[in-house]
C-alpha cells in the first residue's frame, strides 16, 4: 500500500491530498476502485464459467429470476444506492458552508492568466499567485472576463468553472503551509497548456504579514 501511495505523489496528483476536501475525494476513489475491481472480477468469473461444460440445465423462469431480477436489478440497485448515499454524504462535506474563520478571496480568469483579490486586504491583487491562510477554510469566488475557464488546485479541492456573468464559490483548505500547483482546466484556446497558477498557503504569521504589506 505504501508503494502504491508513494506512486500517487506529484505536484498535480489528486491522490496526494493536501487538505480535507481532497482527502474525502481520494478516500471515495479508493473505495470505488476496490468495489469496481470486485464487480469486474465477478463479471469475468461468470463469463469464464459459462464456457465450462456439463452444467445442470435450468428452466427459463428460474434463469430469468437469477440473472435478470437478482443480478440485473437487485444487485446493482443495492450497490448504487449505497454508493449514491456515500457520494452525497461526501459532497455535503465539501460545500462552502458559513463558518466564523472562513477567508474569502476572488479569482478572475482571463486568457491566459489569473488575477486574485482578497476580502481581508481590499484593493490588493496578485497575478497567477493566490495567497491563502493554511489550516483555515477558504472560499474562492470564481469568474472570468472572457471565455470559460476552470479553477483547479488538484491537491486542495475539486475544480469549478469560471463562467462569464456568473460567480461560483469553491471551498478549499490546505492542511499545512506550502506551495500548491493550480491549473485552468477548461480548454480556452492556444495558450491553454501554460494557463496555470500557484497557491501559497501561509502560516498564521506569514498570512498576517502578507495582508499587512502596503503596496
Amino acid at each position: 500500500m505504501a508503494a502504491v501511495v508513494s506512486g500517487c505523489a506529484g505536484p498535480l496528483s489528486t491522490l496526494d491530498p493536501g487538505g480535507p476536501a481532497t482527502r474525502t475525494i481520494a478516500n471515495l476513489w479508493w473505495v470505488m476502485l476496490l468495489g469496481a475491481m470486485a464487480i469486474f472480477a465477478l463479471v469475468v468469473a461468470l463469463l469464464a464459467l459459462a464456457f465450462r461444460s456439463g452444467r445442470a440445465p435450468r428452466t427459463q423462469v428460474a434463469s430469468e429470476r437469477v440473472w435478470i431480477v437478482g443480478l440485473g436489478l437487485a444487485f446493482p440497485a443495492a450497490v448504487l444506492l449505497s454508493l449514491l448515499a456515500y457520494g452525497l454524504w461526501a459532497g455535503e462535506r465539501l460545500l462552502p458552508r458559513e463558518a466564523a474563520d472562513v477567508a474569502r478571496v476572488h479569482a478572475q480568469a482571463e486568457r491566459w492568466s489569473w488575477t486574485f483579490s482578497y476580502d481581508d486586504a481590499p484593493g490588493r491583487t496578485t497575478t497567477d499567485i493566490l495567497h491563502i491562510p493554511a489550516s483555515r477554510p477558504v472560499d474562492v469566488a470564481i469568474t472570468t472576463t472572457d471565455v470559460i475557464h476552470s479553477f483547479w488546485v488538484p491537491r486542495l479541492a475539486g475544480k469549478l468553472d469560471a463562467i462569464p456573468g456568473h460567480v461560483n464559490v469553491l471551498r478549499l483548505e490546505a492542511d499545512v503551509a506550502g506551495t500548491y500547483a493550480g491549473l485552468s482546466a477548461e480548454y480556452s484556446g492556444p495558450g491553454y497548456d501554460r494557463h496555470s497558477f500557484t497557491v501559497i498557503a501561509h502560516t498564521p504569521d506569514s498570512w498576517r504579514a502578507f495582508l499587512e504589506v502596503d503596496e
Binding site: 506529484g10 489528486t14 476513489w29 464459467l49 427459463q60 434463469s63 491549473l183 491553454y192
Partner: protein
C-alpha cells in the same frame, strides 16, 4: 415461373443502374446501407489517423511535433469525425442494410429518402474533410463551448465549418430516424407481430425515436450559435442578455442521449449475435426490451452530469447524480441477460464471440468508471482530465467498436457471399484488445495524476512521461490491429471462397435470402409465426424463392411490398416504390448549396437554394399517386388490400407525424432556451418587454380558424366525391392571415441584435413564418394535384398530410404568441 426465372425477373425490377453511375441514382437499401458503412469506415480511418497524430504528439514531453493551433484541430476533428461522421452513420448504414432483411420485407419505407440522407452525409462530411485538408478545421473542442466559439475569440471560418457541416450531416440522421421508425412499425413480414420482431429491430426502434428527440436540441443550438456568429444575435453573450451556459444545456441535452444512441445499436448487435454463438435464444427478451426503453428514457434525464463543475445548484446536482448512477441498472439488466444467455446455451468461441468477449471486458470497465464519474465529488476532481478521456473510450470503443467488429465478421458473409479464407481476424483481435487496454488503462492513471484533457504538451517535471509513452505505444498496436481487419475485409471481397447459406445457423430472416443478398431480398414475403422463423422451417429459404408466400408474382414489373398492422403484423396496404432516380442526389446538392452560401457568407444565394429545394421536393411528391382509382390489390394467398393511395393514413402521414415529433422537440428546445435566458441569464430583464397587440392576436385567431375549417372542409368534401377546391382556398387564406399576423408581430419586436430577448423573439417569429411557407406550399401543391386529377373519393391519401402540418402550425403559432407576450403580461 420457377425460382431462377423469378430471381431474374425481380433482379431486373429492383437492381440499381449498372456500373459506378448506378451509385448516384440508386434508392435500394442494399446499396445505400453498404455505401453508408463504407463511407463511415473511411471516416473511421481518418479519425484513427488523427488519433495517432495526437498520440504521437503526447508520446514525449515538450514535443514539437504539432503546435497548439494544429493540435486544437487534431483533437477537435478526431472527436467530431468519430462521433458524427463515423459512429452515427455506421449505425444508420447497419440498420438500413439489415433491417428490411431481418423484418422480412424488400426495402425501407422511403427509398428516396434513404438516398437523400446518404448524400447529405456525403456532402456534409466532404465539407468538414475539406476544412481539415486546408488546415481551417474546427479547433475549439468537439463540444464547441461559447464564448470561445463566438466570433470574438474564434473569428475564423473554422467554427462555421462545424456548425454548418454538422447540421447538414444531421439531416441524414433525422431522415434515417424517421424512416427507420416507420419501417420497423409498418414494413414487416406478414405475421411478424411486435413480440416476434428480432431484438435488433426493437433496439433500432428505440434508437430512432431517441434520434428524433435527441438531435433537435443540437440542431437548434447550432442554428443559434451560427445566427450569433453571422448576424450578431447575442444568444450566448452575457453582456447582451445571453448566457454561454445555454449552449452547454442544449449541447448535452443532445450529447448524453447521443452516447446511448451509439451504444444501443451495438447492444442490439450483441443481443442478436450472442444467442446464435451460444446456440440458444436470448434470455429475457421482454426484460431486454423493457431495459432498452428504460435506458432511453433515463438517458434524457442526465445531461447535467457533463456540467457538474459549472456551479449547478446543490439539489440539482443530487438529482442528476442519482439519475446518472441509476442508469447503470438497465445496463446491468442487459449485461446479465447476456451472460445468462451464455449459461443457458453452449457458447462457441467463434470469431464474432471473441469480439463480444472483448466488448464485455472493456465495456464493463467503462461502465464502472462511468458510475464513478457520476458521483459528483469525484467528478470535480477528474472532470476534463485524461481519466474522463479514458472512461469515454472504454464506453465507446468497448461499447461500440468491439460489437461493430463482431457484427462485421458475423454479417460479412451475407454482404459478400464469401467466407474468410485467411485467419487474420484472431490476430487482429489480439492486437486490438491488448493495444486498446494498454493505451487507455494508462490514461486513467495519468488523469488522476493531474493530466488535463486537450493539452498539447507537458513537461518532464509533471511525472507523466512514462505513462504517456506506454499509452502511445498501445495506440499504435491498436491501429495495427485495425489495419489487419481492413486487410481481411478487402481479401474477403477479392478471394472467391463461397460461403454456405446461413453459416452461423441463425434463426432470423436475414439469413433466408440468397447470398450475397439480392436487390429485392425476398422473392416472396414469408408468413412469420415466431421469433426464429428459420428454426421453425429450415426449408423456408426455398419456399420463399419459389414464391409460395406474398407478392411472389412479379408480373406487373413494379417494386412492391406490404404495410402491416403495427401490433399484429396483418397485411394492410399494398406499396409500390419509386424506381431509381437522381432526384435525391440533386436535392442533396441543392441543399448543400444552401449550407455553402451560409458558410461562405454569400447570403443572396440562400433564398435561391431554398426555392430549389422546395421545387425539387414538389417534384419528388408529384411522382407518387395515381390518376385513376386502383381498387383493392391481390397480394397472393387470396388476400386483397388497398393501395397506399387509397387509405386514410398513407406512409407520408406516418413519416410526417414522426418528423413533426423531431420538429416539436426543436421548438420545445427553443422555448426551453427562452425560459432559461429569462430566468437564469444575468443580463435580464431587457430594456423593455413587448406588450400584446390586438391586431396580431385577432389576425392569428381568424387565420387559425380559417386554416383548420378550410382543410377539414376539403377532406370531408373530397370524401363525399365533391371537389375540395373551396376548402383548400379557405385554408390558404387562413395560412396567409397567420403569415400577416407573424410579420406584424416581428415589426413590433425589439431589434434582434441589441439583446438576447429580441433575438429570441425573432427566432420564434421566423420559426412560425417558415411553417407558414411550408403549409402554403402544401396547399398550392394540393390544388395543382387536384387539377391534374390525382384526387378522388377513393384516392384520398393525397389529403392526409396537409392537415397534420396545418394543425402543427396553428398550435405552434399560438404558443409563439403566448410565450412572446408572457413576460410583458407578467411584468
Amino acid at each position: 415461373m420457377n425460382a431462377l426465372a423469378r430471381h431474374r425477373r425481380l433482379t431486373a425490377i429492383w437492381s440499381s443502374n449498372p456500373g459506378w453511375k448506378g451509385w448516384f441514382s440508386t434508392v435500394n437499401h442494399n446499396d445505400l446501407g453498404l455505401m453508408f458503412l463504407v463511407t463511415a469506415f473511411f471516416y473511421f480511418l481518418i479519425g484513427g489517423v488523427l488519433a495517432m497524430l495526437i498520440r504521437a504528439q503526447l508520446a514525449t514531453p515538450r514535443s514539437a511535433f504539432a503546435g497548439p493551433e494544429i493540435y486544437g484541430q487534431l483533437f477537435t476533428m478526431h472527436g467530431v469525425i468519430m462521433m458524427f461522421l463515423f459512429a452515427i452513420p455506421a449505425i444508420e448504414g447497419l440498420a438500413i442494410y439489415l433491417l428490411p432483411k431481418m423484418l422480412g420485407t424488400r426495402d425501407m419505407a422511403y427509398p428516396r429518402l434513404t438516398a437523400y440522407g446518404y448524400w447529405c452525409y456525403f456532402f456534409g462530411g466532404a465539407m468538414l474533410l475539406v476544412s481539415l485538408l486546408f488546415g481551417i478545421a474546427p479547433d475549439s473542442g468537439w463540444f464547441m463551448y461559447p464564448p470561445l466559439t463566438g466570433r470574438i475569440y474564434s473569428p475564423g471560418i473554422n467554427t462555421d465549418f462545424w456548425l454548418i457541416g454538422i447540421t447538414f450531416v444531421e439531416i441524414s440522421a433525422i431522415c434515417a430516424a424517421v424512416e427507420l421508425t416507420v419501417s420497423i412499425l409498418r414494413y414487416r413480414a406478414p405475421g411478424m407481430s411486435l413480440g416476434r420482431m428480432p431484438i435488433f429491430a426493437w433496439y433500432i426502434l428505440v434508437v430512432a425515436l431517441m434520434i428524433l428527440t435527441g438531435f433537435p436540441p443540437l440542431i437548434l443550438g447550432s442554428i443559434l450559435l451560427e445566427l450569433e456568429r453571422a448576424f450578431g444575435m447575442p444568444f450566448f453573450q452575457v453582456e447582451l442578455g445571453g448566457d454561454s451556459l445555454l449552449w452547454q444545456h442544449l449541447f448535452w441535452l443532445f450529447g448524453h442521449p447521443e452516447v446511448y444512441i451509439i451504444f444501443l445499436p451495438a447492444a442490439g448487435v450483441i443481443s442478436t449475435i450472442l444467442p446464435v454463438m451460444s446456440s440458444t435464444t436470448l434470455l429475457g427478451y421482454r426484460w431486454v426490451v423493457a431495459a432498452t426503453v428504460a435506458l432511453a428514457i433515463l438517458s434524457f434525464g442526465l445531461w447535467v452530469h457533463h456540467m457538474f463543475t459549472t456551479g449547478i445548484p446543490h439539489m440539482g446536482l443530487a438529482f442528476f447524480s442519482a439519475a446518472s448512477t441509476l442508469v447503470a441498472v438497465p445496463t446491468a439488466v442487459q449485461v446479465f441477460a447476456w451472460i445468462g444467455t451464455m449459461w443457458k446455451g453452449t457458447p462457441r468461441l467463434l470469431l464474432p464471440m471473441l469480439y463480444i468477449l472483448g466488448f464485455f471486458v472493456t465495456f464493463v470497465i467503462g461502465g464502472l468508471t462511468g458510475v464513478m464519474v457520476a458521483v459528483v465529488p469525484f467528478d470535480w476532481q477528474v472532470h476534463d482530465t485524461a481519466f474522463v478521456t479514458a472512461h469515454l473510450h472504454y464506453v465507446l470503443f468497448g461499447g461500440f467498436v468491439f460489437p461493430l467488429l463482431a457484427g462485421l465478421y458475423y454479417w460479412l458473409p451475407l454482404a459478400t457471399g464469401r467466407k474468410r479464407y485467411f485467419r487474420l481476424g484472431q490476430v487482429a483481435f489480439a492486437l486490438i484488445f491488448v493495444g486498446f487496454h494498454v493505451t487507455f488503462l494508462a490514461m486513467h492513471w495519468v488523469g488522476l495524476m493531474g493530466q488535463r484533457r486537450r493539452i498539447s504538451t507537458y513537461g518532464p517535471e509533471d511525472g507523466w512521461t512514462a505513462i504517456n509513452l506506454i499509452s502511445s505505444i498501445g495506440g499504435f498496436v491498436l491501429a495495427f490491429g485495425l489495419v489487419i481487419v481492413l486487410l481481411e475485409v478487402v481479401l474477403n471481397v477479392i478471394v472467391r471462397h463461397r460461403s454456405l447459406r446461413n453459416p452461423w445457423r441463425s434463426g432470423t430472416l436475414e439469413w433466408a435470402t440468397t447470398m450475397p443478398a439480392p436487390a429485392y431480398n425476398f422473392a416472396s414475403l414469408p408468413q412469420v409465426n415466431s421469433r426464429e422463423p428459420l428454426w421453425d422451417d429450415p426449408n423456408l429459404p426455398t419456399r420463399i424463392a419459389r414464391g409460395e408466400f406474398y407478392l411472389g408474382d412479379p408480373a406487373n414489373g413494379q417494386r412492391e411490398t406490404l404495410i402491416v398492422d403495427i401490433a399484429t403484423g396483418t397485411p394492410q396496404q399494398h406499396v409500390v416504390y419509386p424506381n431509381n432516380t437522381r432526384l435525391p442526389i440533386c436535392m442533396a446538392a441543392v441543399t448543400g448549396i444552401f449550407f455553402l452560401s451560409i458558410l461562405l457568407k454569400v447570403f443572396w444565394l440562400a433564398p435561391f437554394a431554398m426555392v430549389g429545394v422546395a421545387t425539387l421536393a414538389m417534384r419528388w411528391a408529384w411522382t407518387l399517386g395515381s390518376k385513376k382509382d386502383l381498387g383493392d390489390q391481390p397480394i397472393g394467398r387470396g388476400v386483397l388490400v388497398p393501395n397506399i393511395a387509397e387509405v386514410d393514413r398513407p406512409p407520408g402521414w406516418w413519416g410526417s407525424a414522426f418528423l413533426l415529433v423531431a420538429n416539436a422537440t426543436l421548438f420545445g428546445s427553443l422555448l426551453f432556451g427562452y425560459a432559461f435566458l429569462w430566468t437564469i441569464a444575468p443580463g435580464w430583464p431587457p430594456p423593455f418587454f413587448v406588450t400584446p397587440s390586438a391586431l396580431v392576436l385577432i389576425t392569428a385567431i381568424i387565420g387559425m380558424a380559417a386554416a383548420v375549417a378550410g382543410i377539414g372542409h376539403a377532406v370531408s368534401s373530397n370524401r363525399r366525391g365533391a371537389k375540395p377546391v373551396a376548402g383548400l382556398l379557405i385554408a390558404l387564406a387562413g395560412i396567409a392571415a397567420l403569415g400577416v399576423s407573424l410579420l406584424a408581430f416581428l415589426t413590433m419586436a425589439p431589434s434582434p441584435t441589441s439583446h438576447a430577448y429580441g433575438a429570441t423573439l425573432w427566432v420564434l417569429g421566423s420559426y412560425g413564418l417558415v411553417h407558414v411557407l411550408v403549409a402554403a406550399l402544401m396547399l398550392v401543391f394540393l390544388l395543382l394535384r387536384q387539377q391534374a386529377g390525382y384526387m378522388s373519393s377513393q384516392r384520398r391519401a393525397e389529403l392526409a398530410v396537409a392537415p397534420l402540418w396545418i394543425g402543427y402550425l396553428c398550435v405552434t403559432t399560438a404558443l409563439i404568441l403566448f410565450c412572446a407576450y408572457l413576460p410583458g403580461m407578467v411584468a
